[in-house]
């Protein structure tokens, strides 16, 4: 096993090697296996302690599956997952239970992710009960302090989710995720359903919490302006694979993959003076059941050459100058 201290990259806290997740696809009257949805294909990446890694890509590209598989909410088809240097894919369920408390998740939809029949206090306390952490009194004190921590008031404890606005419910979800003092927070589209005015409050809160509690974030979003703001590094996913990865500033200044460029180009800019777009991507992402040959992006790529249809591009350093920090999977780079 590799050392957790990688001199090149600083200390990583979570690392996945060649992770693959295929879902069997059933069909017909006997519901036989008729193929696979190749949701995650050969993904390797690491998350460094204290950083925010942004994961972007279009819906269905495998972002959420990657995150869920990384923390073993889904069983990987193959590959390994190192948490603090230990392969957690091979842990017993008891050992895994202990690891889980250190990695928590917050979800996109603040409406459906909270049980409507539980009070706010019960919702936040629940993980403490499941993990048998502290006495009842200690748990209640913890809940009160968490509510304050996320900008709510402890006297809201006895109220129910429907009494709160979307932004407040998202805070409740964050408080629940923090209950067990995790090291890593996986945030799957945490601000996507919020209005801009509430979204900025939530982003400020996540930033503050990260600083104060030394949290590491994996931040999944399809909103590039949010990801640019919040992330230290970015990974761009297309049809189950990482196509580009690197420091946020570098990726936004020198996007190397045609897909990354098209994605950036497609974001509507809140400035009416800005002229028209340069690249409008044609078509839609292809199916993950029958991914295209070679580079999966080739059917939509404006720069495609015959070679792209044959050869699967590897994720390699963009230029010899920066050997490790900026990676791209494109033979036309």
């Amino acid at each position: 096993m590799k050392d957790a201290l990688d001199p090149e990259n600083g200390k990583f806290i979570l690392r996945v090697n060649s992770l693959v997740k295929h879902y069997p696809l059933r069909g017909g009257i006997l519901s036989r296996k008729i193929g696979y949805v190749k949701a995650v294909q050969d993904v390797s990446l690491d998350i460094r302690e204290g950083e925010t890694l942004g994961l972007v890509g279009e819906s269905g590209c495998g972002k959420s599956t990657l995150a869920r598989t990384m923390i073993l909410l889904e069983k990987p088809t193959s590959g390994n997952i190192l948490f603090e240097g230990k392969d957690i894919a091979s842990l017993s369920s008891k050992e895994l239970f202990q690891v889980r408390r250190k990695i928590q998740m917050i979800f996109q939809d603040p409406y459906s992710s909270l049980n409507p029949r539980m009070t706010i206090g019960e919702i936040i306390r629940d993980p403490l009960i499941v993990h048998k952490t502290g006495s009842r009194k200690e748990q209640e004190e913890k809940v009160a302090s968490l509510l304050i921590r996320v900008g709510l008031s402890p006297d809201m404890m006895d109220r129910y989710p429907h009494e709160f606005s979307g932004g407040q419910r998202q805070r409740i979800g964050i408080a629940r995720a923090l209950a067990l003092d995790p090291q890593i927070l996986i945030a799957d589209e945490p601000v996507s359903s919020l209005d801009v005015s509430v979204q900025s409050q939530a982003l400020n809160l996540l930033t503050e919490l990260q600083k104060d509690m030394e949290l590491t974030y994996l931040f999944i979003s399809h909103d590039l302006s949010v990801v640019e703001y919040i992330s230290d590094r970015i990974a761009v996913m297309y049809l189950g694979r990482i196509v580009e990865m690197g420091d946020t500033k570098e990726i936004f200044e020198n996007p190397a993959h045609p897909y990354t460029r098209a994605l950036m180009e497609a974001v509507p800019v809140p400035d009416p003076k800005r002229g028209g777009r340069k690249i409008i991507l044609k078509g839609e992402p292809p199916s993950a059941i029958h991914p295209p040959s070679g580079c999966a992006f080739h059917p939509r790529c404006p720069f495609v050459i015959p070679e792209c249809r044959k050869q699967l591009p590897l994720l390699e350093p963009f230029s010899p100058r920066n050997t490790s920090s900026h990676l791209v999977a494109c033979i036309r780079k």
Binding site: T52, E58, S59, S165, G166, G167, Q168, D195, V196, S197, V198, Q199, S200, Q201, L203, N204, T207, H222, L224, S225, V226, E228, Y229, I230, T248, F252, A262, L263, E265, A266, V267, P268, V269, P270, D271, P272, K273, R274, R277, I280, L281, K282, E284, P285
Partner: protein, 352 residues
């Protein structure tokens, strides 16, 4: 801070403007539900010029969809009720014409794309059959002629292989494809006004860019007017000529798009624009926020509806603050063609 407003700058807004296609006057819509009377749209007036795109923007629940549904006269009654006001379309008041005339007009002159496209198609019929029926209801014509019209329209909105697509059921198509079909359906009758309620919110950015581009092209070709509802300021900037900013059932500001982004007059508009993470800024710098939450629509506050959350009021003296909390600001004309409902509109250059 803003000095007292020069009286000569103020004029009453005259809604009877020439070449205004749609003219909404003092529209009030409420919902009579168990919890009480919810004042969803509370006296709004605005008009729209022919051949332009008007954006309707604002926080979730501020009344954008209710406004659009009122124009279509599709507010569910009960519990909804159009309490008062007028919606002038060409020379008719859509709220008082006989229902049969309204049904006739719907789809033909004014078409709407709904916020949830999936729910506006019937899951048990093929897309082709639904398009044929929609077309037939408005323009009875021979089957093969109708089919050709549908095929042409599907090709026009960028659907490749329309022959096989029309045999699909809605669930067999992607969100982007469904949205194109909804647009194609709305356009079959060449309406004068297309109301698009969040047409791209559920779509990926690359598909969103395609759909917005398509709508722009259509407008250039047909001089159709578009009422575009969105909460995305980027979408507004890229597609609209004019913008109406709504908050808690009221209009806060109406302006041409350039002036709105350069120099928002209402603190709420300013807040909306400032809350967007600016390009190149990292999390070292906290984002601008509008503190607090929207007021209750059951008992809207008596003064300015935004006063509670307004950042500007802190820098106003007591007397002026009293005005914010107690006097309901009218929508008034400022800078020639802009409308704002604020006692103390922002000065120029605040965005810099």
């Amino acid at each position: 801070m803003n000095p007292a407003i020069n009286n000569s700058q103020l004029t009453t807004h005259n809604p009877h403007l020439p070449n205004h296609l749609l003219n909404i006057q003092n529209l009030k819509v409420s919902f009579h539900i168990e919890e009480g009377i919810l004042h969803a749209v509370d006296g709004i007036s605005f008009s729209m010029k022919q051949g332009t795109t008007l954006g309707l923007v604002g926080e979730s629940g501020c009344g954008k969809s209710v406004t659009a549904l009122s124009v279509m006269r599709l507010i569910p009654d009960p519990p909804g009720k159009i309490e008062s006001g007028g919606i002038l379309w060409k020379d008719k008041n859509l709220l008082t014409i006989p229902l049969a005339e309204m049904q006739e007009l719907r789809g033909r002159e004014i078409a709407m794309i709904f916020q949830e496209p999936m729910t506006s198609l019937n899951p048990v019929f093929t897309v082709g059959r639904q398009m044929e029926e929609a077309l037939h209801a408005k323009f009875p014509m021979k089957k093969d002629k109708a089919k050709k019209k549908i095929m042409d329209m599907l090709t026009f909105v960028g659907i490749s292989d329309p022959d096989s697509r029309i045999q699909n059921y809605p669930h067999e198509l992607s969100g982007g494809m469904i949205q194109r079909i909804m647009i194609a359906m709305a356009l079959l009758s060449q309406p004068d006004l297309l109301i698009a309620d969040e047409p791209t919110t559920a779509l990926d950015v690359t598909i969103q860019a395609q759909i917005l581009q398509l709508m722009k092209e259509l407008q250039q070709k047909t001089s159709m007017s578009i009422l575009l509802i969105t909460h995305n300021m980027g979408v507004i900037a890229e597609t609209c000529d004019e913008v109406v900013v709504m908050y808690a059932g009221r209009i806060m500001e109406k302006s041409n798009v350039h002036a709105l982004f350069d120099n928002p007059l209402h603190p709420y508009t300013f807040g909306l624009l400032k809350s967007i993470p600016p390009k190149g800024v990292t999390r070292e710098k906290p984002l601008f926020t509008i503190e607090g939450t929207v007021p209750s629509l059951f008992h809207p506050p008596k003064g300015c509806r935004f006063a509670e959350r307004c950042f500007q009021k802190k820098s106003l003296d007591k007397e002026k603050q009293d005005a914010c909390f107690n006097l309901d600001p009218d929508l008034r004309l400022l800078e020639g063609d802009r409308l704002v409902a604020c006692h103390f509109p922002l000065e120029k250059d605040r965005m810099k």
